[in-house]
Symmetry: C2
Subunit: 369 residues, 2 copies
């Protein structure tokens, strides 16, 4: 097997040892010292064996995030896009206003769903810069008494990231903060209890597609509007520990293995060191060769997860993607909203992948500058 | 590896050769004569390799169901429970009435979600018999001009099934028929174009949990209420071929393999023969020994997928489950609404499993009668 370095934005590369473990036990799942005689994907979600996966995965997630009993981790479906609707449907009551900070395409889509439900306010927007720059603290203008403030911590398409929201003065003690962390959850330590609700599609840092992880302050789920579809009420998930109906068993099981891999590799602090070292390899090339490589995100807004950059012209960009693929690196084409190249380097991307890409960038520049 | 016969109601047993194929290519997915250097679960849903899975799986599903271009197969998430809401939210307009035929717990839950949306009418109900018997044609009283008629073709919990709806005189040419086929889709040939919309959670006859398959007449998706959450509009899925956001890639991929396995084994007619032979083995034991084994479903309503039966007392039932497990047969405990035993024998259950269970039933009876 010749493994490629997959720089795709998601579904994304996963740790090889996790994949190997899954393969090795795929036909016969081991539990409690016994072989179950069936695959994890054939197993009842009401079985003791799956219940252990469900419990342990929640416990490990809370441990990694430093959260206590006042929080619950939910295993849902439908992607972050379903959360774009669930958040306002559950929290945006008549007469109140929800604040959105726009930092890219996904925040815009979240806002569009909230507008269907009630009153919204754009507290800040980076649209004028084509989302190359995150709003500065002083540019954020909250409404008088927002029912919640929604932000996107990492912007996959544009390559920007808020690693620390303390400077934004969002006053988590007073305001309910809601964040889409689909593309940077578990990539660095952060104060998770600043947030009332965090959601993330799994397919970048957590596991395979088909699972949405929601981390929420338990009390927020109480007292839902009973006319909401049952699967759009958070309470359906908090009350039944994500087992009201059949959960995406396989994806939760892999998430469990990914969390163990993160714990074994230094937890979130370990991931941050790993990700900073990887990103530095690429950003250093961009910064050292500004005539050839032009970063899209401004340096103060740069993401450690998605690195966006342009080349002198589109022909070279196409050639870069093609030659990189031939050299064992895939998924480097940028999103059409930015163009150019994008290297997504989530937790699962090994440092060797970034070293290979950095070498290739130098070589490609020397051959084409 | 010692493979167990898994009689669980779902997630359920899958064909062993499908599981082996998945395991063998899990680390390095082959496409178009090449190895991709990554797992199917790491692959972009915008890649050519996944697009081929998406297209072929839809095509094979339509071929098996004998459907043409006026139908589309959608790959969704959230289980049948999400469809319980989506169906009325998309079709139950103000001033109209939706008819529900109640044949078990799942139809009741579907009705409960429809009641949140608009006017409903119970056209028939088997509740008085604890759903042991399906309503007879003459017991079905439709409302004057139903916007749709909803039915559940197989009732997992109670073990009843409508294999042929022609005698019900539901007039598919005039009325929009909507069916939950979660637990018997693909198990026998039926006139799929009688239905405007069919939905099914995948985890019984189709593949792993985390995928909901919707088969719908294309035109029904047009003209959605724009205020509906985007993920609750069927049009979001028809327009983008289930790729508006990231689909449950792994589950669709396995579904594709299961469909190929069905085609190789005689298609739906092959499955029907296989399933009739298997069910007969168990029902014959029940019918030959009425003093010991009492079927829950009345003979005219029996399901080929879920066989529900009681023993003379609960102690014996518990003992049956325990001894069957020790003999390599799991998942036989009945649902609490019926009690007793339930053998779920979907497509993936080999005939040898039913032979083993039939032998065990005789032996257990001889030891305990």
């Amino acid at each position: 097997m010749s493994r490629i370095f997959n720089f795709g934005a998601g579904p994304a590369t996963l740790p090889l040892e996790v994949l190997e473990e899954v393969r090795d036990e795929f036909l016969d799942y081991p539990f409690d010292g016994k072989q179950m005689g069936m695959s994890i994907i054939e197993m009842s979600h009401r079985s003791k064996a799956y219940d252990a996966v469900n419990e342990q995965t929640e416990a490990d997630m809370k441990e990694l995030l430093g959260l206590g009993d006042d929080y619950q981790v939910l295993f849902m479906q439908g992607g972050a896009t379903t959360q774009f609707s669930m958040v306002p449907l559950n929290f945006l009551k008549a007469g109140r206003t929800a604040d959105y900070i726009l930092t890219g395409t996904w925040s815009e889509k979240a806002l569009a769903e909230a507008k269907k439900v009630g009153d919204t306010h754009v507290a800040a927007s980076g649209k004028d810069s084509n989302y190359a720059r995150l709003p500065q603290p002083k540019e954020i203008q909250l409404s008088e008494n927002p029912v919640y403030i929604h932000l996107t911590t990492n912007n996959t398409i544009f390559g920007t990231q808020w690693r620390d929201i303390a400077p934004l003065n969002l006053n988590p003690g007073k305001h309910l903060l809601v964040a889409d962390m689909s593309s940077d959850i578990l990539s660095h330590p952060f104060k998770a209890d600043d947030y009332g609700l965090i959601y993330a599609g799994a397919q970048k840092n957590i596991g395979p597609a088909g699972l949405t992880v929601v981390i929420m302050r338990r009390e927020l789920a109480e007292d839902p509007d009973p006319t909401l579809p049952i699967m759009l009420q958070y309470k359906t998930f908090t009350k039944h520990k994500s087992l009201y109906n059949t959960p995406p068993v396989f994806a939760v099981y892999i998430m469990g293995k990914v969390l163990k891999w993160i714990k074994k590799n230094g937890g979130l602090a370990g991931m941050a060191a790993h990700n900073e070292a990887k990103a530095k390899l690429i950003y250093d090339i961009i910064d050292s060769h500004p005539d050839f490589y032009k970063g899209h995100a401004t340096p103060d807004s740069r993401s450690l997860m998605n690195i966006t950059f342009r080349l002198p012209n589109e022909e070279l960009e196409a050639e870069f993607v093609k030659q990189a693929q031939a050299a064992g690196m895939s998924g480097l084409k940028g999103h059409r909203s930015v163009g150019g190249l994008r290297a997504s380097i989530y937790n699962g991307m090994p440092k060797a992948g970034c070293e290979a890409l950095a070498r290739f960038m130098l070589e490609f520049m020397n051959n084409n500058a």
